[in-house]
């Protein structure tokens, strides 16, 4: 892989699945294999099980000298704890953003609780990575982008997909990003429907599209292959793989 990569959507830690490549050594091996200069990771444990422990284990494992940075995970079910976590980690240089997963937490993206967390974290001026896997999730991010014009929101999975292969979810994410300049599209998902990247570049421009792998859940090759297959220019690929994230995360 000759183009360098920054992975805007990575994870550290085990999943409830038969995946064994989940420790920091595995992450570094994958980064080396795919010419990744940096990866911004959230803790799988913080997302799925235990917010405090997960963020702490991530913090203890981060290695900016190897390009491994973190997202602090928040959970609006635990508002005050999430504020404490934000305060504890977000001003540290190792942490480059905030992660929120609406599905595991069961809290909608556009909820009173999450808005309170955004207000709390806004002064730190770091982007939010939001799991988006439905058209409702996309609409919710649009509402937030409108309300919080100075905050950068990354639509993780760019709205996701559905087995009907209509592309409705990611098409709505593209529409949202084309309207709001503080919405970024991050590309990883399991079903990599042909045409998605080309349409995103055409309608939004490549400057606000970010490469993400979802490792350690997914293999970076899966989404690298998607970008390499897509019929966009080399310059657009370089922006998506590296340049955009370098600017956004100040790496």
């Amino acid at each position: 892989m000759s183009i360098p990569i920054i992975d805007a959507h990575a994870h550290y830690g085990k999943w409830f699945l038969p995946i064994y490549a989940s420790d920091m050594r595995s992450i570094k091996d994958l980064m080396l294999r795919f010419n990744m200069k940096a990866a911004i990771c959230s803790s799988s444990k913080a997302i799925v099980y235990n917010l405090i422990e997960g963020n702490r284990e991530l913090f203890q494992s981060l290695d900016p000298s190897s390009g491994i940075y973190g997202y602090v995970t928040v959970n609006p079910n635990y508002l005050e704890l999430s504020k404490d976590e934000t305060k504890r980690y977000l001003e540290l240089p190792e942490f480059r953003g905030v992660k929120f997963h609406t599905t595991y937490s069961g809290v909608p993206i556009d909820s009173k609780e999450f808005r309170e967390l955004i207000e709390y974290a806004e002064p730190y001026d770091k982007p939010f990575l939001l799991h988006t896997y439905s058209q409702k999730d996309v609409r919710d991010v649009e509402n937030l982008a409108k309300r919080f014009g100075g905050v950068k929101f990354i639509m993780g999975h760019m709205g996701g997909t559905e087995t009907s292969w209509t592309g409705k979810n990611w098409k709505s994410a593209i529409s949202a990003s084309s309207e709001y300049s503080n919405i970024y599209l991050e590309i990883c998902m399991t079903h990599l429907e042909a045409g998605k990247i080309e349409e995103a570049v055409e309608r939004v421009g490549s400057q606000r599209i970010l490469y993400g792998s979802d490792m350690t859940l997914l293999n970076p090759a899966h989404t690298i292959g998607m970008i390499m297959s897509s019929e966009i220019s080399k310059e657009d690929k370089e922006r998506i793989f590296y340049i955009n994230a370098k600017g956004l995360f100040k790496i």
Binding site: A21, A194, L218, N219, A221, H222
Partner: protein, 143 residues
Amino acid sequence: MDPRAYLGGLDEIEELRKRGFRAVRLFTEFQSYPIDYAPLLRLFKNLESMDLPLLIYNTGYGLMTKVVRETRGRGYPVIMLGCSYSALSEFIVLSVENPHLYIETSLLDTPDAFELLTRKVGSSRIIFGSGIPLNYFESSSYG
């Protein structure tokens, strides 16, 4: 084949086989019938005489288990399509005792899926697939 339409009949399949068709594909991901569905069960049985592999899309937990139960001992290979991280455990457990079961690679997307499957079931049970034109080809081939 769509078991809702073809009622498990063999004439259509035989005709297509003569024209060079190499396998039977069930589009469970689009057609939404359950495995426990009489026309489909009849098709599973009738395929015994056809010597054609069966390709079926894995739509979620438990489907593979039901498919294996209905196709065990029938003499034709079954290739599970669309298997991502959530299908791995089920496939590994089933494939140990069901040598007719195979897995296709278009959505095999975990960091060590190939290593794990090779170790647990052997590479002879893994079949390359890409999902084109619906998917990007290199998503499957790149790694």
